[in-house]
Symmetry: C2
Subunit: 474 residues, 2 copies
Amino acid sequence: MLTLDYANCLSLRVGSHGIDAARFEAGSELAEAAQHLSGRLARTRGTGWERWRDLPFGAVREGHVRAVKEAAATCRGRFENMVVLGIGGSALGNIALQSALNPCTYNLMPSGERAGPRLFVVDNVDPAYLGQVLRLCAAQGGLERTLFNVISKSGETAETAAQFMIVRDMLKSRLGAGYASNIVAVTDPAKGTMRQICDREGYITLPVPDGVGGRFSVLSPVGLFSACMCGIDIDALLDGAAEMDGLCARPELGRNPAAMLATLLVDMGSRKGKTCHVMMPYCNALYLLADWFRQLWAESLGKQRDVRGDEVFAGFTPVKALGTTDQHSQVQLYREGPNDKVFCFLEVESFEGADVRVPAGLGVEATKYLEGTSLARLLNAEKRATEYALVESQRPNLTIRFPKVDAFHVGQFIQLWQVATAYAGLMLGVDAYDQPAVELGKQATFGLMGRAGYEKFKANVDKVLTPTRYIVEG
Amino acid sequence: MLTLDYANCLSLRVGSHGIDAARFEAGSELAEAAQHLSGRLARTRGTGWERWRDLPFGAVREGHVRAVKEAAATCRGRFENMVVLGIGGSALGNIALQSALNPCTYNLMPSGERAGPRLFVVDNVDPAYLGQVLRLCAAQGGLERTLFNVISKSGETAETAAQFMIVRDMLKSRLGAGYASNIVAVTDPAKGTMRQICDREGYITLPVPDGVGGRFSVLSPVGLFSACMCGIDIDALLDGAAEMDGLCARPELGRNPAAMLATLLVDMGSRKGKTCHVMMPYCNALYLLADWFRQLWAESLGKQRDVRGDEVFAGFTPVKALGTTDQHSQVQLYREGPNDKVFCFLEVESFEGADVRVPAGLGVEATKYLEGTSLARLLNAEKRATEYALVESQRPNLTIRFPKVDAFHVGQFIQLWQVATAYAGLMLGVDAYDQPAVELGKQATFGLMGRAGYEKFKANVDKVLTPTRYIVEG
């Protein structure tokens, strides 16, 4: 089970920059609020936009897992490469699971040593990037042995649509009519542009479930299919999420890790000016989980208005960092710059068989203290030293501790933050499930790209960004 | 030549969140200050810790380029893999150059298509990470065809020392006495622990020049050797840096991109509460340049005291983001959350031969507007749309425009930010070249690892982080 250690957020450790321990005690205002919210979340779970909460349970889970495993069984052995076409919530979870649970050298391994095809998640329309990935797939294994997993609920996200149009055309011209078997689409099961295309062309499809927003979809087929294809234990992932969910429903603040996380971060964010929330794993595999967290935390809580329509400009800026690496890049700022951050360390207790011993024999006095130790011991000592150095500068921080990095504990981590986000939304009084500010940029893009009906947006852009002389050039 | 477009930082675009254009005009206070500082930097350049500024010029450059090319010529063809062992300034530049100037699929290409060996930059002591890379190298090409490029001025950085001890022992036991020819060390040319080891064991060495701090070292052999090995045009890189340096010495604020960048970011950071500085390339290749920037900006300016010793808690939090990807993750927060950021977009005018056309033929009305366009056009339209959406929310932003991504323009980018950092340090009154707050964590690590003489640090850590009951568990 993951544990949450928050002692370094308390005023007994970091003075006025932290929270008094008494404020968390049973019967305190914060404890009462958390209990109230746990009841409220119990009543709304599985309804409206909180249907993500059911993904690790019961018939919903069984249906998804069965469909994902069936699709994977159909594809297994046929493909050397797999390319996910998606963006935002249709990519960040896939990237996080793969980097957390497969080796960093996975794509470089010969196919006999990998648990599945090479995996590329192309979450941008940078032409060089897409072109390089497609050329590599064509050269190694060939396009006929490359599976494209397009993920889009509507099919109208400009980036994914453009990628898909390119890939579909290329597959059709190279593979002919049978090209459809190189595509698995994750999309709306009933309606929308992508659904129509799938029905017409006969792709295998998997559902983006109703009531599950993009950033809460990693435990649905959106995230599960590529994970399953690459040998990740999706049952253990969902088991972990389910177990964590139980803890996150507890009414007692001191025993509920999601309520505690939300309470700490919202309280320090709103009352102590700690508006940057730094996620800093001491573990390379967990680093890209921070990108998944960044979307969840930023897009859910970053809101100009609360649910009553009052201006609040809520939200916190998620920042990702990596220990020990960023000790040599960011810790100078973290200790001496503005005291506007809370640090969330991720620590791994055991690297199991992967630990590496540091041998003797260099014959140098200055590094003698390292002889006979192990890299895991050094890594965790550095983490403890950094924690200490931050406390000495009165910088609040907390630690989420993984017994080890496996699918079960990564599933726990995902559900922990998803439920914490739901709590934090209620605490801030904002709708954690919408993203109204993203619309204007989409409409402006449509206008600039000449989509019919969006001409006025192009005119607005051109007017607002009228060329000026405020340019420095050579 | 890179251009800097800062119109969206002005109050005429973003109201009270921006700066009045009149404040930049010739004769204004900001223009006078910039002129004064350009004179001051002209007097200190090439002295003290500003010797980085000479790296692209004259005898210093010639000496480095000759030594780097000689070492590369000795190694060329002998190695299938190259592993950089370094951390912070001894890694971030190497990673940035490789990801900017070689394909994202570089390591996956067969050796005949790559310009050099596979490159791995192992900038952490995560045992799983190092172990995976070493196993991959042993399996593909073999350890005898793997070059280790250890980068450490002193040789006493704990992470690099531990990695090096492991690798050296492994090479000695597998390759015997000849193992030394698999190591190239970049280190102090005259003194220190690593220097002694190199002299004793006979490695090829390249210098970390005096007066060049880690975060300003990418244009020295620290960054140049791995780049040269992987086919990057280091002459063009230095040419670009040299040309940009000339612009950054101009006395006129309106014609000096480094002084203008520093003026904008320091003024908005200090007077308008814009303390998060987001670097957001619309180009995957440029994304990891943001990690190099993060160290430069955070570690140079994040200081508790100014040069007179007064408390200032200066500095800004650098944040990296990627367009269009993070439009679907961060832009909701960027538009509606706290207005505490300045956005620095990186835009690429031409992807040259790499652009990809979006074909017709899908037969769907909703995506018809994309038919016949290109990904580069879509990418840059999305960037313009985001710029517009941010301006509509009064969020200041600026654009650094690359005519194209090549070594020459990446060199310009590097020198631009290095000189901008020097200006910003002077404007904030802090020493841009030290990092005093990093020491305590190093000492505490020594203490926790049992290094003789550091016992009191271990005692302090244990006292401050005494175990508590403030843990949420299962």
